[in-house]
Symmetry: D2
Subunit: 285 residues, 4 copies
Amino acid sequence: MSRPGLILKLRCPDQPGIVAKIANYVAGHRGNLVEFNQFSDKLGAKFFARLEIETGDLDVEADDFIDGFGTLGRSMHADWHFRRLPYRMRTAVLVTKTDHCLNEILWRTQLGELPVEITSIIGNRPNCRPHAEHAGIPFFEIDMDADKDAGFAEIRRLIEEQNVELIVLARFMQILPDTFCRDFAGRIINIHHSFLPAFIGANPYQQAYQRGVKLIGATCHYVTADLDAGPIIEQEVERVHHFHTPTDLVRLGRNCERTAIARGIRYHVHDRTILDGHRAIVFPD
Amino acid sequence: MSRPGLILKLRCPDQPGIVAKIANYVAGHRGNLVEFNQFSDKLGAKFFARLEIETGDLDVEADDFIDGFGTLGRSMHADWHFRRLPYRMRTAVLVTKTDHCLNEILWRTQLGELPVEITSIIGNRPNCRPHAEHAGIPFFEIDMDADKDAGFAEIRRLIEEQNVELIVLARFMQILPDTFCRDFAGRIINIHHSFLPAFIGANPYQQAYQRGVKLIGATCHYVTADLDAGPIIEQEVERVHHFHTPTDLVRLGRNCERTAIARGIRYHVHDRTILDGHRAIVFPD
Amino acid sequence: MSRPGLILKLRCPDQPGIVAKIANYVAGHRGNLVEFNQFSDKLGAKFFARLEIETGDLDVEADDFIDGFGTLGRSMHADWHFRRLPYRMRTAVLVTKTDHCLNEILWRTQLGELPVEITSIIGNRPNCRPHAEHAGIPFFEIDMDADKDAGFAEIRRLIEEQNVELIVLARFMQILPDTFCRDFAGRIINIHHSFLPAFIGANPYQQAYQRGVKLIGATCHYVTADLDAGPIIEQEVERVHHFHTPTDLVRLGRNCERTAIARGIRYHVHDRTILDGHRAIVFPD
Amino acid sequence: MSRPGLILKLRCPDQPGIVAKIANYVAGHRGNLVEFNQFSDKLGAKFFARLEIETGDLDVEADDFIDGFGTLGRSMHADWHFRRLPYRMRTAVLVTKTDHCLNEILWRTQLGELPVEITSIIGNRPNCRPHAEHAGIPFFEIDMDADKDAGFAEIRRLIEEQNVELIVLARFMQILPDTFCRDFAGRIINIHHSFLPAFIGANPYQQAYQRGVKLIGATCHYVTADLDAGPIIEQEVERVHHFHTPTDLVRLGRNCERTAIARGIRYHVHDRTILDGHRAIVFPD
């Protein structure tokens, strides 16, 4: 949406009349609902919604519209979040050696598919520096081998200094400290190169080869302190055959990884994801 | 939904505050919105919605709730339709020789996946009679070879006599007369054994073989007087290779046909489809 | 292949000139190679092949052709197997309550897609008896609750008595004893209702729901004493969303299960699978 | 394959003993068959094969091995072609404005996935020049607006001067002259942004939107004088919904286009395709 607008994400206990209340608030201020997705989770007695609102005809300032929602939101015991449009999310991309996910992100960003502003590319290896330089994005090489704690402290410093809102692990081959995961909860997206929860941990393509699976996959998920167990945003698979070596699986898997991470980031930066414990609600576009 | 309820389908010009108005009407009578899908078609300036409403707590009779909606519906220049739940749609299945689509429909109906009541199976060949008998459904063999007009008149008579609401062409190898298509517009679903609009007309698998496509497909669509050009509800594809003969394509295509027709019927009988000219809005479940 | 013929499956250490040796043997006796699939596994230094041979013009009897191959086969340190065509494999289907996989197998068998002769349907619950009776196949209800060992002894007796060559576990909800797995190694096919190795064990759809995966799947595999860890023949997946309940996953998963088991059986009975430790070589058609 | 070797592609009338003859020739000179794909087309009475041969142990020079095959090849009335490995195919990429297919090709080439040497990028618009420059590949802007014949003459001159073996139309928005198609028959690969044969011609995504299809696709094919009707190498599809505008279809379609063109080129440069009239035999890896 290029016109001025708002995205509202909301999560609350399920209760009668929620949709009417929310829609009334929007219509009462002459907001124009462009898109309204909701999900009444009958099993969990929870309600989730995402609204995209054109605000050109609002009868109040957008700030007042946002403030005013608080009364309703609190009465519904909701968590909610407004985002002003147009918007580009400040994003740091963390990499190690392989560049295919980074490339995909850069390409889609340049094309305008991903509304992000990449503030920095941070690598614990120098391999991706040329990509960063070509794209005109600062590259920071951080040594994680000598002192891992110092490395993560440096990453944290960079991220905070640059007001980074989203951290993308684009095949970043380091396990994040628990505190890091907690402090940036819901703001770190990882791509795991397997169809989770199969093949957690190292060398999933080698594991997949040995297990003789007929489909390989990739999983884009939020990072939590529990390794490879965070809420899944997107998964993608590709068919493989007995004649594919582990090297072939790596090659074919790159397709899955690129697709899954691109969609996962897209859903996140468009506020199309809402966390629900171990699960992620996703309203795809 | 097994509890008493209503499904409301609605189509109207796009206008401010629609969602609020509809949701207010429902909430105002203590209806419980279980599911609310809508689509604001900005290109066509149209609005489409489907609501699933639990009515156990309604403050009026369901009939009055339905009647009362008229004032709002007319004010929005809407077309709308209410369905009372639970519901089983009276359905006639038309067949010729092959039985795979019929089998799929029977099996899913018995399993409770498709809320239909099959009133009759009508064939212009006797091949599917045993399936009908095993399922305890009346089978009518109609001769279309001697006098096609008389055949369709007989089909029409059966359908009207049995208050059939949905006519499924489950590989029925006869072209319907224009008047038949018009009189039952939006109530006839066909499965075409190609990925439409590719391979319109006869022998699509032979055509697909000759063209050397790498994916074959099937298309479930509403029938209009314009052959194979009605609004598409669902499509399914399967990968094929050079070594597949036309006979293999027929075999593999059956999988696509069964999946596409089962989903297409499901979406229709759950009122998850709304027609929009040559297109079908589908809110899948 | 409806004309008289042979299928040869072969597995041996990789070595120079294998293809020439095998092809020479066939051509030397005027066998007509209809299909010749092979796989040189460079990682494992093994060779696998499947040949489909029309034998109408053989210069010797088929028995002599088969016998004569022994000299070559032994010289290559091969394991090999000949199958005479046309062929229908004697197959027992084991079930519990759900019938969708059984239905799929019966339907495809009747259609001629699966060259099997179903000798018996064996259930530890009576639910599938009507299907068996309708198909004219003997149904044996075996009580597994009172005495599991006695139950499996009875199954074994039936299978041996009927010269069963293939045992299909079509959602048979009992864990097979190790000795049973070993005695029928390579001749038992199971469908597991998850995308293995994810969600091993009970209630995979419930597990999938809780994990919040975006794709569910089914796995057709050979049964070994190691639960859900036998060589995989085929896998199938379907996309799911946050609004799908565990009940929905069961419904959607049935599609995957039916497709995967039908293909898995097809590949096995056409001798398109060759075991290689924990993996299965599959030459699909 | 990085070790010295040969790829042999062959097409001939089907006849007894072909596999034995070919395999004997290879084994007779101590060639090591790494991969041997063949296809006996019973409908067309034709035989197709692709062999990958390690030549480290050949008892003759590779040239003599190739020459010597002629006697056998001619006796079988075959067309055949040898390729020496390792090999990088000299390739010209033709573009107009959009860069996603070009980007994909460049990225996969740099990664070593595509064994091509891109001799030049030729555009009838300047948009892709920066990509060429970043990749260190000569960019030639050819004006096609003023004089289309002169433009194609210039392209032909470049291609011949640079000994180009493969011409890739990576969203090149110009119709090639018939003579050009004929002169480079089997050496021009195009990506069409629809699931052919649906939506031939201009604006396929707009056509797809209006038709209301539920899957969109892309087709990689050899170019012939018959527009969009050349032999298909690869097709890819993606699911779409009613809420996707034509602009969304363009965005989603790019994924299909990139995947299909990358696979199509890969199959061609690895000699995994054999033309058979309007169809392409493809032995995928």
